[in-house]
Symmetry: C2
């Protein structure tokens, strides 16, 4: 009997990663395409290439496989319509229907959502939220995505675009955000936001810090983490600042949704020991009494490498 698998496809600005995932969350086989390579082709051709690659994975696997559906995680991926809408980092603008293109090739469920929603589903199906019905996932990278699970379901909202906590206000009329608005949470705790804070703090610092010797344009969160581990006080302060910002926003999240847990996903979780005490401190200081010391703050259990494929496949499973 063939092994049943779901295809998980993660559409990113740089790479398009895909894999075939079994019911237990094992990625049996996977591959990737360079997204930018299709910049001068149309969207249908790009979808065609994905189709061919998945077919080739199915054929070349050592055991017989049965594909039961395709899940797509994509920037601005819309669950309701099966489209990608105005994704800023992709070569195709306007609205493009993943669902319509893929239906030409497959008579199977084709499900689309954004990458952070897919990550939340992945966490629930295969990660640390297996028994949870109410939790929030924050994915921290260049931007800040979020996925909300309540009553055991993803919250898509009326138009499919719910879960944009990264673009809720953090400081009223504060920093310019890439979305065009000001003061968004993303502008403070995404890697871009953290580096913005870091540069400000380095400029205003009177003490000695290794970070001052790094070219401002080259500075990365990794540099800050490395310095913090070596005891650099300013680097430690930068994580304290970031942890406090996360805790302040999490207190707001709890007021809205009273989740069992809030998960953090992304490279920044490597600096957990520097962040966590400050997240917890602000969160529990700022929530109402009924919420104090109830909400777990957890690092995602999905590996960074595999999460997007797993999450996209969880749309099907």
């Amino acid at each position: 009997m063939p092994i049943k698998v779901a295809a998980g496809i993660d559409i990113g600005g740089t790479n398009t990663k895909f894999g075939l995932v079994d019911r237990q969350g094992n990625t049996l086989t996977s591959d990737k395409l360079k997204t930018a390579q299709f910049a001068d082709q149309n969207f249908a051709q790009y979808m065609e290439a994905i189709h061919e690659s998945i077919d080739s994975l199915l054929k070349n696997y050592t055991s017989p496989l049965e594909l039961i559906g395709l899940g797509f995680g994509a920037p601005n991926g819309n669950f309701h319509t099966g489209t990608i809408e105005y994704a800023p980092n992709l070569p195709w603008k306007d609205i493009h229907s993943i669902k319509q293109e893929m239906q030409k090739h497959y008579d199977l469920p084709i499900i689309v959502t954004n990458d952070a929603n897919a990550a939340a589903l992945g966490e629930m199906k295969f990660g640390g939220a297996k028994k949870m019905k109410d939790f929030v996932m924050l994915t921290l990278g260049t931007g800040l995505g979020s996925g909300i699970i309540a009553n055991g379901q993803l919250i898509y909202g009326h138009d499919g675009f719910a879960g944009e906590i990264g673009h809720s206000s953090f400081i009223l009329d504060g920093r310019q955000c890439n979305c065009g608005n000001k003061g968004c949470f993303e502008a403070y705790v995404s890697s871009i936001g953290i580096l913005h804070t870091a540069r400000e703090m380095i400029d205003n610092y009177d003490g000695q810090t290794k970070l001052a010797s790094i070219d401002s344009k080259e500075l990365s969160v990794k540099h800050i983490h490395y310095a913090a581990k070596e005891g650099d006080q300013l680097a430690i302060e930068i994580f304290k600042n970031t942890g406090r910002s996360l805790g302040i926003k999490m207190a707001e999240i709890v007021s809205y949704l009273s989740p069992e847990a809030i998960f953090l996903f992304g490279g920044i979780t490597k600096a957990w020991d520097f962040l966590y005490p400050h997240i917890e401190g602000e969160l529990n200081q700022r929530v109402m009494k009924v919420f104090k010391n109830k909400v777990k703050v957890l690092a995602s259990e999905l590996s960074e490498q595999n999460a997007a494929i797993l999450g996209a496949s969880a749309l099907v499973w």
Copy 2:
């Protein structure tokens, strides 16, 4: 054949209102008790009195009625446990089980939630949200309650206490709120919050305003509304300020939940014409592009008098 009715019971600090509501949302008969009258009795005796009153309504109605369940809206009412927990405005502190007490008298569904959640259900079952699956209800009174409906369901959260948008931060470390924290949204747009703002604005106003002649302790939102209707510029500015605050918070709500509509409930909606343009203006200026001019801001269609009973009965229906 008897008419099927659900009992809707609204437990408030001043009055306990209850009524028998049919499937169409008609309150066939209703009554109330003074809550404070039971201050020196225990919670079980108070529940006993409610039971007797409901029985008397059932017996005395002109047609035969069949009770199919009881819904309670109460401050800090918990859907998961059927309890009231530490309600600040009620004479009984600690945790009290409505469900347990009422099960002594009825072998029927007994459902408990907080008053704002009940109002949201009432709006969905009997009011302006009949065809909506994703909306948010904000109830503005002395405090500010909220109920979140997503995917057609109330969001209760892990512990039953979700939907406390009134106690999410509005101004970081701002005004002292009754909940013990600082800067909560409630401290700015509940009637207490609006009057706080009004007093500050009156004190700092150089022009002429009728509001300056009203004793600060006597000042009410009604006074401000009356003055605004007569063209008092400061009164108009106070509503502008309140409308802007509402719009700013609604932009945040949209980022989280992307609702079809946000409903406002409470006496303040009488000042709709003074508030609405500023709510809409801020909301649509501050949301991401994908949300602009999509979200409806609506006044509740439930009558203030009946809403709590209808909402509580909707828990059963």
